[in-house]
Structures are given as C-alpha cells and as structure tokens.
C-alpha cells in the first residue's frame, strides 16, 4: 500500500443525496460522500455503476436531478464547468488534435489571458514535470499513447486546479506502461499536494494508489474505506468479489463464531447473525490452507475440512491457481504448491480469513397456512371448527398439533354451503394467479384463484381430506429429538459412543441424562465432517419443509429439518452446535 499522506479533515467536496436518471434508467441513487483535501480518492466499480457520472457531476458536465454538490462548503450545482476550479483528465485524453502540444497545455492559460511569457514558462515547467521537455512543438498525432496521457495531465495541472479528476486515465495504456504511470501519478499527487479523484474499474489500480476507495454498483455506494479495509473487510459479496478474486458461497450461521458452508463447519470471527441465517461466505483464494484429507479438525462437534479432488492447476507466474472440486462446490485457491490433477486434498481456512456477509439473495419463505389443530380422535383432526380425516399416528387424542394446509389445496368458490365462508381481504396477482387472503372462521387463509376477486366480497372455500399435514407442536415432546446420553466430562456427553461437546457445564460425570435437540438445529454437513454419520432412512413432507430421518446406526435415529428432499440411503454428516443441546 502507498505510504500514508498527511490528511486533514477539511472536506473539499461533499455530495449530499445525489440522484441522477437518464430517462427511466436510474444511474445514481442517493449518493452521499465527502472528499478531503489532498486525498487520493478512487471511485471503483464495474461499467455503468455510476462512477463516471459522479465524476462528471463534480466536474459540472452533468446536473444532478436532486441533491447538492458542495465545494468547500458552498453549493456549486449551478456553476458551469468553466467556472469550477476543477480540471479533468479524460479517458481518451481529449487532446485537441488541431493544436500542438504546447498549445494544448496553454489552452486554459490563454483563456485566462495570462501573459505570453508566463504561459511559455508554465508550459515548459509542466512539460518538465511530465518528463516531456522539448515536446512543445510536436503535433498530438505524433505522440504515443503514454505521451498523450502525460500531456493530458499536464494540460489539466497547468491550471492549478484544487481537484484533479481522472476518468480511467490509464485504461488505454498497456500493462507495463500502466504500472509505471500508476506510481508516477501517485508521486505527482504527493508532490503537488492536489486532491485527486480517480475513476477506475481496475481494482488493483485502486488498491495501489488510493487513500480512500469508494466502491459503487448500480448507482449505489457499496462501501467507502481505506484500501486495506475494503480488501480485508468487504461489506458484501459484491465488494468482496470485485476487490480481488474471491470464492463466494452460501452458508448458514448456527450461532456466533460458527459458520457452515461447503459441507463443513468452520470457526469464524463474525457475530451478530441470526440463528440459522442464510449468509454469503467469502474466501480469498490465497487464504486456503492445504492439508491432508484426513487432518484433524479443531471445530467442536464437527470438522472444518473441505475434501476434494484437484481438477486443474495452472501456473500463473508467481503462484499456482488450483481448482478443487469438493462435492457440489468448486474452490479456487492460489498458492505456491503444484498439485497434480486428480490429487485428493483437504482444505482449511483460518477463522480470520472467513468473511461473512448478509446474503444478497434471501430465500423467499414458503407461503402457506399454518394453523392450530387438535387430534379429535384416531384419524380425525379438528381445525378451525372442522374435522378432517387424516392419519394421526404418533399423536394422542386431544393432543394439540400444528396443521399445514397448502394454499394450492384450498378450492375457492362461491358455493354458500361450502366448508368455510368468508370475505376477501386482499387479492394480488403474482404473475401466474391471484393470491387471495381470505378471512374466515377467525383465521386468515392464503389461497389461490384463477380469477380476480374484489376485496370485501363473499367467498367460500373447501378443503379435501388427507391434504393436511399434521405436525407436533414445537413445544411438544414429539417435535424434538430425544437422546439418552452419558456425561463423560464437564463439557462432554456421549450418545451411542459419539462424543459431543455441550455448552452447559455438568458436574454429574457418569450420569445418564436425557437431552433434546430440535430438528432445525441439526445441520447437514458432508460425511466425515459431522458429529453423527448416517444414512437417510425416511423423508416426510410437511407442507413447508421436509423432515429427514437419519439412521446413525446403533438404533440412533435423528430427525433433521431440511429444505430439500433427500434420497433415501444417502450418506450425510450431522452437526449440532453445543448451545443447541438441551438437557431435559
């Protein structure tokens, strides 16, 4: 990273609530930021993210639809570009082809009616600064790209702007020249003490040169921070993906400091996510630690080893880029080890190298009707004043149960002698059909209809038998897994010979106790990475989720709540977080 420049806290530019649209296309959405004096600030983002538009608003080429641009605290929205002490270096330089080098540099000075002598002196000085002394008489066409670049910078700097705006100035240069120019620009900025506002889509450029980076996407600022912060603590998957190369996968956080992804359980340093929340996990390719497939894990009740097969291994000059396929996932890693294609290896990641962020895509919750019911008699369940026949095996008479009735199973009609009658609360078209919310029998029902129904009109519903899903009450005995365990240490119990850490310390070592674990607290991981290993014995659809019964051998059956259907006899590992093991 570049050496630190002394930064004051004086704000030279401030953007407040900037919005900008082209037609219906919103290019800037509520941009708020400030730029400090002498800062090298970079706007970073992909094409069309709004970074150039922001620069052009500061330069005065575009007007914000709303919001304020402040220059040293004064609004400059209505000041035309030619009256702003801001100068721009354009992407394709925009040198005037009909003027020679010196005339180009002198352009601004001539407008300011400076004396000939002063102009000549300043032009000469600028040419020296950019290392092109003696080029004054040359025509623009005779210059190389790099030289034109320098002239463009000289032409802007000669006006002694308070801020220099650079719009992807190096984009047209080749790699080698670009690297040189990066260093030179940074040096120039430090030497002249001018605020640089730099726009680029090249993250490496941004990281090398900037004091502050503003990452943008779709007209929204994603993150503002120092290069190290942006790199190490990306705020979301986009930033992580954009800054450096990253592996981004979906994960679940059972509790603080623990995350499950890629079929393994990892310790991490992130906290504050909800129990069982869906998150994005970012791992930098260089942060993987390659281990033996059978290496020991340090994770309680699980294992943090990703096991897989090398599918490609490419030498990239300074490192190898290796792709490892682990089950469903492919991981990209960069290190100095050469692997053979087909090698089986294990991968680990240190807690500090796991970056967890809120998932961009939150899975839409399954919309269904969850009602309170009661087992009336063997094979009959009473819900909302009606009795339905359905299997009640495992439930006692009069036992309170939860009942799921899927909206697609509700037949909506106008027959007055139907099972339920009620009024339409709302009717929304979802693209395929109308979603009705119907108020009937003191309950709100979700149902579908092919035709539109006016609100507050009469409607009736009928529900067939045997389409109800009966589930034990969350709190009831039948809803959770009950295991008999032996306390083997203060924080360890043993169930069927498998040792589990628990959270609550016990002093009754040797005692046989009963523990319970909710199905939703049991997480499926790869075989070998869980505390239990087993095969799927049975799968039961519950209208919104599946209950998977995993046979772990020794008569141990564990009920797991899963979002997807599992094939029978599929192998899996199960992970249970110590905090989720409750003593009865």
């Amino acid at each position: 990273m570049a050496e630190k420049v002394h930064l004051t806290n004086e704000k030279i530019i401030e953007l407040k609530g900037i919005n900008k649209s082209y037609g219906s296309n919103k290019v800037l959405d509520d941009i708020n930021l400030y730029i400090r004096k002498n800062e090298f600030i970079t706007f970073l983002g992909p094409s069309g993210c709004g970074k150039t538009t922001t620069l052009r608003i500061i330069a005065g080429f575009e007007q914000a639809d709303s919001g304020e641009v402040l220059f040293k605290g004064k609004p400059i929205n209505d000041i035309p570009p030619y009256n702003r002490s801001v100068n721009t270096v354009f992407q394709k330089y925009a040198l005037f082809p009909h003027l020679n080098v010196a005339e180009n540099i002198a352009f601004g000075l001539r407008i300011k009616k400076k004396s000939k002598k002063e102009i000549a002196e300043k032009v000469e000085k600028m040419l020296e600064l950019v290392g092109l002394a003696g080029y004054g008489k040359r025509s623009i066409d005779s210059l190389s790209g790099g030289q034109q670049q320098r002239i463009a910078i000289a032409r802007a700097l000669v006006n002694e702007p308070e801020i220099l705006l650079l719009d992807e100035p190096l984009a047209a240069l080749d790699l080698k020249l670009r690297k040189d120019m990066q260093l030179e620009l940074k040096k120039m900025q430090q030497q002249l003490g001018i605020t640089f506002l730099y726009v680029t889509h090249d993250q490496e450029e941004a990281l090398t040169m900037s004091d502050t980076i503003v990452v943008m996407k779709n007209g929204v600022i994603q993150q503002i921070g120092k290069p190290t912060d942006i790199y190490n603590e990306p705020k979301n998957a986009f930033v992580a993906d954009f800054i450096g190369e990253s592996n981004i996968v979906h994960g679940i956080t059972p509790h603080d400091n623990v995350v499950i992804f890629g079929g393994a359980v990892f310790n991490c340093v992130d906290k504050g996510f909800a129990q069982g929340e869906n998150v994005d996990v970012v791992i930098r390719p260089e942060d993987f630690i390659v281990t033996d497939e059978a290496a020991k894990s340090s994770v309680v009740n699980g294992s943090d080893i990703l096991r897989g097969e090398v599918t490609s291994n490419i030498f990239k000059g300074v490192h190898y880029e290796t792709v490892v396929k682990c089950g469903w996932y492919e991981w990209v890693l960069q290190n100095t080890i050469s692997h053979e294609k087909g090698d089986r290896i294990g991968l680990r990641v240190g807690p500090n190298d796991i970056h967890i962020m809120e998932s961009e895509i939150t899975p839409t919750p399954t919309r269904t009707n969850l009602l309170v019911g009661k087992v009336y008699e063997e094979g009959v369940v009473e819900v909302a004043g009606h009795r339905f026949s359905c299997p009640t095996t495992g439930y006692g008479e009069d036992e309170d149960v939860d009942v799921v009735i899927r909206p697609e199973d509700i037949v909506v009609s106008d027959n007055e002698d139907d099972m339920f009658t009620g009024t339409v609360e709302s009717c929304i078209f979802n693209g395929e059909q109308y979603e009705l919310v119907i108020k009937a029998n003191d309950c709100e029902w979700l149902a579908y209809s092919d035709v539109v129904r006016d609100e507050q009109t009469f409607v009736s519903m009928s529900i067939a038998d045997d389409v109800l899903f009966v589930m034990p009450k969350e709190t009831s005995h039948g809803a959770v897994n009950h295991f008999t365990a032996t306390v083997t240490a203060a924080d360890t119990i043993e169930i069927c010979g498998r040792k589990l850490k628990v959270a609550a310390p016990r002093d009754d070592i040797g005692a046989v106790v009963s523990v319970s674990v909710r199905p939703q607290d049991v997480y499926v991981v790869d075989p070998g990475n869980g505390v239990f290993e087993g095969t799927v014995a049975d799968v039961e659809y519950k209208g919104i989720y599946y209950n998977v019964y995993v046979d772990c051998g020794d008569g141990l059956i564990c009920k797991v709540r899963a979002n997807e259907e599992w094939d029978r006899s599929e192998k899996m590992g199960l992970y249970i977080h110590p905090l989720d093991i409750k003593f009865d």
């Binding site: 069309g48 150039t52 007007q63």
Partner: protein
Amino acid sequence: MKKKAKNIGVRADVNNRNKWCAVPYYVWMIIFIVVPLVMVVFFSFTDSDYHFTTANYEKFLTRGANGELIYVTTLLRSLGLALIATLICLIVGYPVALILSSKRIKRSDLLITAIMLPTWMNFLLRTYAWMTIIGRNGLLDTLLALIGLGPVEMIGTNGAIILGMVYNFLPFMILPIYSVMAKMDHSLVEAATDLGANPLQVFLRVKLPLSMSGIATGITMVFMPAASSFVIPNLLGGNKVSMIGNTIEDQFKSAGNYNFGSTIAMILMVCILLSMLIFNGKGDKEEMIM
C-alpha cells in the same frame, strides 16, 4: 471491456444549451418545408374556392376517348422510362464501380473524380449538348451518313429521353456503389478465395451482397430525379413524349390549375416514396451525401 461512447442516446447536461442553436432552423424548416408540403396536400383536396373535394383525384383517373387512363398512363410511362434508365445505369455503372474499386487499378481516385466532373457542369447545358449530337441533321446522323448508315433520328423518341437520363444520372449510380466497394475490407475477398471460392463466386457471394447498400442508394439517386424529370422530355423528347413532370409543369405554368397540379405532385411523391421504400428498405439515407 471498455465503455464505448456513453453519449449515444443521452446528451450530457452541459451540451444541453447548445440545442438552442437549432431553434432558428426549426422556424425555417416549418416555413419552407412543412408549410409548403401542407399547402400541396391542402390544394390537392380543395377546389379553386378552397372547398374540400376529391374531384382532383377523380380527375387523375379520367379516361380518354379511347378509354385509356390519361394521367395514369403518363405516370406509368414516367415510372417505366425511369426504371429502364435506372436499370441501364446499374448495368453500365456497376462494372465501372467494380473495376475502379479493384486493387489493380491505380489512381482510381482520379478516375472517379473524372467521372464526377461532368456533373459539375450545368445540367441544362449537358442536356442541350445532346440536342446538338442527336438532333435532326445533328452530329450523330452526319457521322453515320459518312459511313453510309442512318439516320437514326433519335430526338423526339423514348430512346432519346432514356439516353438523356442515363447520361445525366449515371455518375450518381457509380459513386455510391464505388464508395461502398472501396471501403470494403479486401481481406474478405482474400478469405473467400482462401475458402475455395472462384472469382465468380467471390463476386456473387461476397462483393455483390456487400455492395447492396450502395446499389440501393444509387437506384434511389437515379430513379427519383429520372421519374420526375420534365426538362429531358422537353429538350430531347420534342414535347412529344409527355412525362408526369411535364403534366405538373403544365398545370402550374400554363393551365394555372394549382389544385390539380398539387394532386399530381402528391401522387408523384407517394409513388416515389413507395418505390424508395421498396428499393432502399431502411437504408441509410445519409449515404446519399457522398
């Protein structure tokens, strides 16, 4: 991937005020383009007392003593003669463009200038010069008589009119085809040859399809003025072969029937627009400027 010209479709705000430069032109355009056209439409649908009528259009469909449609025949004759002239221009002009655009011809820029140069000479004068050549007892017949041929007595015939059209408009067929073909990437021809195409196939499969836009422009630039010409039939046709342009001229100059004249002008405009749609499709009109 680089962003390309982000300004397509969206003008930067800073340019906004420059749009006022065009406002005086809008006034001019409305006065001298829109209003006159509206007047033509208006006159075509009114009688001399400015009352609405379709009589002018009915008159266009008048049948003569022998039962033929007088004005329709004239219109069809004009379009027919123009079409023949256009085809001749294409057949004669295409090889010229093809030859000039080939790599073998040096100084093709000079030759194309030589071809365009006569168009700098007054159109009336050039047409008049043909009267000297093909007129009765003119140069052509005199020369033919020397070798014991003729006379062909061309003047006053359809042939003379077509000759006049071809002569005047041939450069406008050659130029657009030439500019398209000269811009053509020669490596395309090399690629086709490399893929085993013989010269004829190269022409049919590569050069001809790629020169289509030039052909379309050329056809428009020849057909349109040819179909509406009234000077050529006057000077070379001896007023005997009447074209639709003559009829319009008659109505405006001598008969003073602006209403019927406007009607014929309207019909001519529609015919030419339609034929241009057929020839040119959605071709680039800007190509009409060299």
